[in-house]
């Protein structure tokens, strides 16, 4: 199983790993890069990954298309991903979290910097996220310059650095996450997602362009290597029953971030506190 050095995913992985151990399996955790795990699971170097964000659709599609990976189901945790701002920004842009507040000239000025030609400086996503920001900006007629952060670590570091200085900032965010879920900020409300938003230009605020809506809410999904699933059908069964809530994961993240626990320790604590939840899964 893969651990990817992110508190949220590693918590889920460790909880499931501990359950498998209780069911009598030997577990080996492999430290990997989030992106690299897809190749690994395709080739059977990794057997299960219970914490895949549905927001990397191309990687998932490629893995499924290879024919050696199956999507078992979802962990039950809902992902919210969209633009996010620290709470003090609301004073500069009255009307937030409604997205229309971003059209207010005073707000644009406050969120811009000399590098962005008077546009809002928006902190975008790493390369492997499918945030659809360009189409959204065009379709909603926003005055926004996208600054790319390169990696998730850099994206979060930039946000955290700005928050420490109370500097006006807006950027991509998602939950479950230790910073974006911590209550210091709020998500922008864009028109809710519908499939028609991406296919039918007439849909939504802008009659001429597609993309004038938020991102769909995503899931955390579980992938399994086919050969392994054939060898150990029981694991697939357990994986199907395995469900966590957003609160569980938020709790796990908090334990690691503020409590200083390792993902293993946080998972162990969850397991001992929630026996009622997981004991039926093992039968």
């Amino acid at each position: 199983m893969a651990v990817v050095s992110a508190p949220d995913a590693d918590f889920i992985t460790n909880v499931f790993g501990t359950l498998l151990k209780k069911a009598g399996y030997n577990i080996q955790y492999v430290h990997t890069d989030y992106t690299a795990q897809f190749t690994a699971i395709e080739l059977g170097d990794l057997e299960i990954s219970p914490a895949i964000w549905s927001s990397s659709p191309e990687l998932i599609a490629a893995a499924l298309a290879s024919g050696s990976v199956t999507k078992v189901g979802s962990v039950g945790v809902k992902i919210r991903e969209t633009w996010w701002y620290p709470n003090y920004v609301a004073e500069l842009c009255p009307g937030l979290p409604d997205w229309k507040a971003l059209k207010n000239p005073a707000c644009i000025k406050a969120l811009s910097n000399p590098e962005t030609d008077g546009k809002i400086n928006y902190l975008g996503t790493p390369a492997d996220f499918d945030a659809d920001d360009e189409r959204r900006i065009a379709a909603l007629g926003l005055d926004v310059h996208i600054t790319l952060p390169g990696t998730m670590a850099a994206m979060v570091a930039t946000m955290q650095g700005a928050i420490e200085r109370k500097k006006p900032i807006i950027g991509f965010g998602f939950v479950p996450h230790w910073l974006y879920g911590s209550g210091v900020g709020t998500f922008v409300d864009f028109p809710p997602y519908e499939d028609a938003c991406r296919s039918d230009p007439a849909w939504g605020v802008n009659p001429d362009l597609v993309g004038d809506c938020a991102l769909p809410t995503g899931d955390i999904i579980e992938l399994i290597n086919n050969d392994f699933a054939k060898r150990e059908p029981n694991v697939t069964g357990l994986l199907k029953k395995f469900v966590l809530t957003n609160d569980d994961v938020a709790w796990g993240i908090l334990k690691q971030d503020k409590g200083g626990l390792t993902p293993e320790a946080a998972a162990a604590e969850w397991i001992s506190a929630n026996e009622k939840t997981w004991s039926p899964w093992l039968q």
Binding site: H31, L43, S66, N113, E115, A127, T151, T158, D257
Partner: protein, 677 residues
């Protein structure tokens, strides 16, 4: 301690004889090249736009093709009825077997799975007491008290900062990678030395191996060697082997004739001659290679942890990704300590002279070692604190470092912001605009002219063709962005590093301090300081340039220091005797005499900048380096490889041109010859 940072690509020299007449007038060619550039710059808007931006309809579909070819090769090719990857994996596993043994011994212990947990047999790893004592004892045997103290301090650091498991895992894999690297490097080096024709084949391959960003071959390595320490080993060797092999060739070539005469006179067989006479005589140069190997193997620790090697690299990644900067720094320093210690061992073993007075007592040493290893480990089964270092005795400085960054951020934040704006708006963007306005055609043509001016027609034609090819596959603009970052990074690094190096070169005390700082900067994983820099400066080009400069400034300082220090003191004394003032001595004597060394330093600085440019994709730079990272995320291994090769081409072209300029500067006329050690 760690000596010189890196060695050059052994610039191939062209025979100075028989050059066609039209190549002789260098100045004319330079002038012609410059005129072309100027014409293109002024003529933008008048001249056809296709000369500036490669027309879309003429783009070569090389990227898509490379994806398909690579996919076919890696996933579907069969050899003797088995997929190719089965063979490579089996081979990899066999090579990696000793490494797994070492890891079991040091970190994980052994587990023999039975059908039920009760039947599963586990053997514990060595006790920490054993490892610390054994490392110290070995240090004492190999290098005396100094090395023993260093070894003890290093392992104590791992324990105190609660990094034991991670550090011993990394130690096992890196130590093994170094041993394999030394063996392969020696074999390859001797082969290259014995058969000159091999060099023509392998030299370009080595150049590419050394300069291609590891990201771009990550996916192929993963597929061929599976996930885990073996893949990490392969990736490390691709990167770290060439300097070792080159150091071997270089060392053997520099040997005086009498070493070879001795070899044949004593009637030594070929193997004896090589192993007993030639290689030991070339020791200093080999050590330089080993030094490189250690540095590069440790530089790959982070990347190795991305493909399943775990250890300290994973510790750094985990800490940095949740912005626990202090923890990342602690783990990063552990990597640095490991580098210094491993090099210390290698160095001591290599320079130890066999003594005829005191006979070595292998039996006694082995007995002591065995006792050290076995007694605490066995005792550890009964006494838990011996098996596992008590957690109560660990400390952490993590909070302190996080507070330092926060403090800097809240108090000096505006200053950092202003710095970023100056760098981006004042330097990076204007330069990029100029480069774009020159266009691919004039730059490629100008490179051709400069190559002729340097009297290297084949280099000129090849470089020009490579540039045109890069433009033709649609990477011109990205190449410019990357080149721009490298240029600004190099300038910044020279601006800061050259004065520091001169200072260190003329004072012993400063030299001692700078050695420590430089070694730390070079072995500390860049990820550790990259993310704090992002917190202070935000993502983007300014951060990228500063990160590049932070890394490469170490090289600048070291080479400048070395060059200034190595000027013949007799010449300086003569100058002083003739009544030269200190300033005159410096500008008129010391600096000119140090020029070859300084040029080598410039060359190395540029290469380090190109090497670092890949990492800047992690903080939001957008050139070729982004392509290599982005391609992995989009499962296009071929595209990543091509972008990597383009970066590699940029590095090689820069290296060759700077090398050629350096050579033509100290060609006839100056009496000092470059000695690149």
């Amino acid at each position: 301690m760690v000596a010189v940072a890196s060695i050059g690509f052994g610039a191939t020299s062209v025979t100075p004889l028989l050059r066609p007449k039209w190549l002789r007038s260098s100045r004319l060619w330079v002038a012609f090249g410059l005129i072309l550039l100027l014409a293109a710059y002024v003529g933008r808007g008048v001249l056809p736009e296709g000369l500036y931006v490669w027309p879309t309809q003429w783009l070569l579909p090389l990227l898509k093709m490379s994806n398909d070819v690579l996919n076919q090769l890696l996933r579907r090719t069969e050899v003797f009825g088995e997929p190719l990857r089965m063979w490579t994996r089996a081979g990899g596993e066999a090579i990696g077997l000793p490494m797994r043994g070492l890891q079991n011994l040091l970190t994980t212990g052994w587990t023999f799975p039975g059908s039920t947990p009760a039947e599963t047999l586990t053997l514990p790893p060595l006790s920490w007491v054993s490892v610390v004592l054994a490392a110290t004892y070995l240090g004492w045997l190999a290098g005396g008290r100094r090395l023993a103290v260093l070894a003890f301090a290093t392992f104590a650091y791992f324990l105190i900062f609660d990094l034991w498991a991670a550090a011993t895992l990394t130690l096992a894999s890196v130590a093994f990678a170094i041993v394999v690297g030394v063996v392969f490097g020696l074999v390859l080096g001797v082969m290259l030395f014995r058969w000159g024709w091999l060099e023509a084949v392998l030299n370009p391959v080595f150049d590419v191996m050394q300069t291609i960003p590891p990201f771009s071959y990550l996916v192929p390595v993963l597929i061929l060697f599976g996930f885990g320490p073996v893949a990490a080993l392969v990736a490390t060797l691709i990167f770290a082997l060439p300097p070792m092999a080159r150091a071997v060739v270089y060392g053997l070539r520099r040997l005086p004739d009498h070493a070879f005469e001795l070899s044949s006179m004593t009637g030594a067989s070929r193997w004896q001659g090589t192993s007993k006479i030639l290689l030991p005589s070339a020791r200093d140069d080999l050590l330089l290679g080993v030094n490189q190997l250690v540095m590069m193997a440790l530089a790959m620790v982070i990347l190795a942890s991305m493909i399943g090697a775990g250890g300290l690299g994973a510790e750094v990644l985990r800490a940095i990704q949740s912005l626990k900067i202090g923890r990342g720094l602690e783990a990063g320093i552990a990597i640095t300590l490991l580098a210094v210690l491993l090099y210390g061992y290698g160095h001591s073993i290599a320079v130890r002279r066999p003594s005829h007075l005191s006979r070595p007592q292998p039996v006694r040493h082995l007995a002591i070692l065995a006792a050290i290893l076995i007694i605490p480990t066995v005792a550890g089964i009964a006494i838990a604190p011996l098996a596992q270092y008590p957690a109560a005795l660990t400390i952490s400085t993590a909070d302190f470092w996080s507070r330092v960054i926060s403090w800097l951020n809240s108090n000096w934040g505006d200053g950092f912001e202003a710095t970023r704006l100056i760098i981006t708006l004042g330097v990076i963007r204007p330069l990029l605009t100029i480069l774009r306005d020159l266009g691919w055609a004039s730059i490629a043509a100008c490179i051709l002219c400069f190559g002729f001016a340097l009297r290297r027609p084949s280099l000129a034609v090849l470089s020009c063709a490579t540039l045109v090819l890069i433009a033709a596959i649609g990477y011109w603009d990205k190449l410019l962005i990357t080149f721009n970052l490298v240029t600004v990074g190099t300038l910044l690094s020279l601006f800061v590093g050259a004065p520091l190096g001169i200072w260190a070169g003329s004072s012993r005390r400063v030299h001692a301090v700078s050695e420590v700082v430089v070694t730390t900067l070079q072995t500390l994983p860049s990820f550790v300081y990259l993310v704090p820099v992002v917190m202070l400066l935000g993502p983007g080009d300014a951060t990228a340039v500063i990160a590049i400069a932070l890394y490469s400034v170490a090289t600048t300082v070291r080479y400048t220091d070395h060059a200034i220090r190595n000027v013949d003191p007799a010449t300086i004394e003569a100058a002083v005797a003739f009544g030269a003032t200190p300033l005159q001595t410096f500008w008129k004597v010391r600096l000119p005499l140090a020029r070859p060394g300084l040029m080598l330093g410039l060359n190395q600085t540029i290469l380090m900048c190109v090497g670092m440019v890949v990492i800047t994709a992690l903080v939001g730079s957008q050139g070729l380096e982004l392509e290599t990272v982005d391609a992995i995320a989009r499962v296009e291994a071929g595209r990543g490889l091509v972008a990597g090769l383009a970066i590699s081409a940029l590095a090689i072209i820069l290296d060759r041109y700077v090398g050629a300029v350096a050579q033509s500067l100290n060609a006839p006329g100056s009496s000092t010859r470059a000695k690149s050690s």
